[in-house]
């Protein structure tokens, strides 16, 4: 088991290096650079900028250097904790991303927990009461959840919350707490706002996980080892949780990796609609203006989170399923 964990950690290193390279290539792919985008936007608003100044700026920011020099400068900076400079915000990237990454993690992890708890409970009920009214209801609601676009759900929930509860629910904090330092009151305020993004981002995932768990559990309930356990005289509930549920959880757990990545990237539009101070909206802005170090750092961090999510799911799998450990 220990060997397996160490092996998995070692595999992570080349994966991450490769990701950083791909990320850097991708953010450089659009023609031009941040200055071209900046000049274009100035021109749109009627301002003109001296081409010589542009060249000077380009020289200063190092946009003219060859690709690998730029990459090596960036990655060696990242390894020392320096993520480069955001041209758009005129601040070091390091100062910009931590708050947003932190809040993104809060939103994503709580959404993941919500998704798991709800879909586990409903999936378990659906499978053990196959073809009952409750099962059909769960299936019906599940498919509606799956088919409704997130931003639509966000708008509906915002409207309902405003109309019937008088809550202003956009963002993650009320105005008076947004800039305030962390306190108990700010935390409570966060909880008051958090439920809408959790429901909005989590619904689609919940619906699909319900289907996954239901199908798996139905499969497992028909397996001979369940009959063996019944023949031993085990009670139904004890049997259910010890054998089929545990095995049906295997695909459940293996979804952590990609669900997590999906939660983070899928929350961009929701983030914009709900005006969340998460990574999504800022990342989109950075990509549009070719604010390369900001966008690159975001992408790198999101990839790291995904890789870690996959690692966690692999380790959980190895705990649940001994057949993986022994391979």
């Amino acid at each position: 088991m220990l060997n397996y964990i160490i092996k998995r950690f070692i595999y992570m290193i080349p994966t991450l290096l490769l990701i950083s390279l791909v990320v850097f290539i991708v953010i450089q792919l659009p023609p031009g650079d941040w200055l071209t985008a900046y000049v274009a936007s100035l021109r749109e608003s009627g301002d003109e900028i001296d081409p010589i100044t542009v060249e000077l700026l380009r020289e200063r920011y190092g946009f003219n250097q060859p690709f690998f020099t730029k990459y090596l400068n960036w990655i060696s900076g990242v390894l020392q904790g320096d993520f480069g400079y955001s041209f758009g915000w005129r601040k070091p990237v390091g100062e910009l991303i931590w708050d947003r990454l932190g809040l993104t993690l809060v939103v994503s992890v709580s959404t993941l927990l919500f998704t798991w708890i709800v879909s586990f409970a409903i999936g378990l009920y659906s499978a053990t009461h196959q073809y009952s009214f409750g099962d059909y209801l769960a299936t019906f609601l599940g498919f509606i959840g799956l088919a409704t676009p997130n931003f639509m759900l966000a708008l509906i929930l915002m409207y309902l919350a405003y109309k019937y509860f008088g809550l202003s629910v956009s963002g993650l904090f009320s105005i008076q707490y947004a800039m305030a330092p962390w306190s108990w009151a700010k935390f409570v305020d966060l909880l008051k706002h958090l439920w809408i993004p959790i429901i909005v981002i989590g619904t689609a995932g919940t619906a699909s996980l319900i289907r996954v768990l239901r199908a798996n559990l139905l499969d497992e309930l028909g397996k001979p080892y369940v009959v063996t356990a019944r023949a031993k005289g085990l009670s139904y509930l004890r049997l259910l949780f010890k054998y089929p549920v545990r095995i049906a959880l295997i695909p459940f757990v293996s979804t952590v990796g990609w669900t997590f990545a999906g939660l983070i990237s899928g929350s961009v539009i929701t983030g914009i609609v709900l005006n969340l101070p998460t990574t999504g909206p800022m990342l989109l802005q950075a990509l549009k203006t070719q604010d390369m170090y900001l966008a690159g750092s975001f992408l790198l961090f999101l990839s790291i989170i995904t890789v870690i999510g996959t690692l966690v799911s692999d380790l959980l799998l190895a705990i649940i399923d001994p057949r993986i450990r022994y391979e």
Partner: protein, 337 residues
């Protein structure tokens, strides 16, 4: 009393989307103490369902609609078929009094729990033994069924054992509660021939050591000849003939039994000789013919008799019962004409 288990006129239906399947249509079997009782028949004849119904562990869409399963337990008689399938009463009899092993040793163990965990679970559930004592008992049982190095094997997972070893472990698990009856549902079907012989020997040996009865379900007449003391032949949800094993092989009465025995190759058959297959196919379980279910395939079919009334299992010699109109005396036959 030498009776251990009496299944009387058992009827089981399956409610499926296509309709009701009458899987067992009035089967009667009597199992005595300390014998091996074989239940033989083609696939789909209801033998496994009958066996599972003893422990009341049928599938969710199956329903016992009639008959009795009388278990003779310490001077009392309990009708197991009337107990609630998930209730405490019937669960007490499972494993402790009546235990069961299955066809697929690969999938009959949970793949994610150790062998020891699964054996000890049963021991701890039905006794007051401590964890340590239960483990010692489990290792002891694994050793008795011939698993080498049981103290190490007990902590292994099913996928680390071979098919034969898994079936041995299954037998160890089933017998660790010292049951009065072991129901073995095609225990050798999924194993290769040499392992089959070993498992059969092991079951016979354990039966003598523990003084229990075995009900062995199989479609293989060879296994019956090798193991059973007494045989019941099933066809389409009914027992059509019951007799001691030697009597059945040398003096089969029911046309189905005769046809079954003719379809087996023997060591003396000449090379040119063709095996006699039973004519026709098993009727659809959704529309079982009126009268004797076997008449469409029977070589001694009497029109106007066999397709009218279904013959009951009748004792025509000591311990030899058959359900065929030919042996039911002239009165019924005349009545049919």
């Amino acid at each position: 009393m030498k009776n251990l288990l009496e299944i009387k006129d058992l009827k089981i239906n399956f409610n499926t989307e296509e309709g009701i399947v009458r899987a067992v249509r009035g089967a009667s079997i009597r199992i005595d103490k300390n014998i091996i009782h074989g239940l033989v028949g083609e696939s789909g004849c209801g033998k496994s369902v009958t066996a599972r119904s003893v422990l009341n562990i049928l599938a969710a869409n199956a329903e016992i609609i009639g008959g009795e399963t009388l278990y003779h337990h310490q001077g009392e008689i309990v009708d197991l078929s009337k107990l609630h399938p998930d209730g405490k009463e019937v669960r007490k009899f499972r494993w402790r009094d009546i235990s069961m092993i299955f066809q697929e040793p690969m999938t009959s163990f949970s793949p994610v729990h150790t062998i020891g965990n699964q054996i000890m679970e049963a021991i701890l559930l039905h006794s007051d033994l401590s964890q340590v004592a239960a483990r010692t008992h489990a290792i002891n049982m694994l050793e008795r069924v011939g698993i080498p190095d049981p103290a190490k094997r007990i902590d292994e997972y099913p996928h680390q054992l071979s098919g034969g070893m898994r079936q041995r472990a299954m037998i160890a698990m089933a017998l660790s509660g010292n049951p009065k009856l072991l129901i073995a549902d095609e225990p050798t079907t999924a194993l290769d021939v040499t392992i089959q012989a070993q498992i059969i020997d092991l079951m016979k040996q354990m039966k003598d050591e523990l003084g229990m009865s075995i009900m062995i379900i199989t479609h293989d007449m060879g296994v019956i000849a090798e193991m059973a003391d007494y045989v019941s032949v099933m066809y389409l949800g009914k027992v059509v003939e019951s007799a001691p094993v030697v009597e059945l092989f040398y003096n089969p009465l029911h046309p189905y039994t005769k046809a079954l025995l003719k379809s087996i190759p023997t060591i003396n058959s000449k090379r040119e000789e063709k095996l006699t297959a039973i004519a026709g196919t098993v009727p659809d379980a959704y529309c079982i013919p009126d009268g004797c279910a076997f008449y469409p395939r029977c070589s001694q079919y009497k029109p106007g008799v066999c397709d009218r009334s279904e013959p009951n299992l009748t004792e025509i010699a000591t311990d030899h019962q058959v359900a065929c109109i030919m042996y039911h005396g002239e009165v019924e036959t005349d009545g049919g004409k």
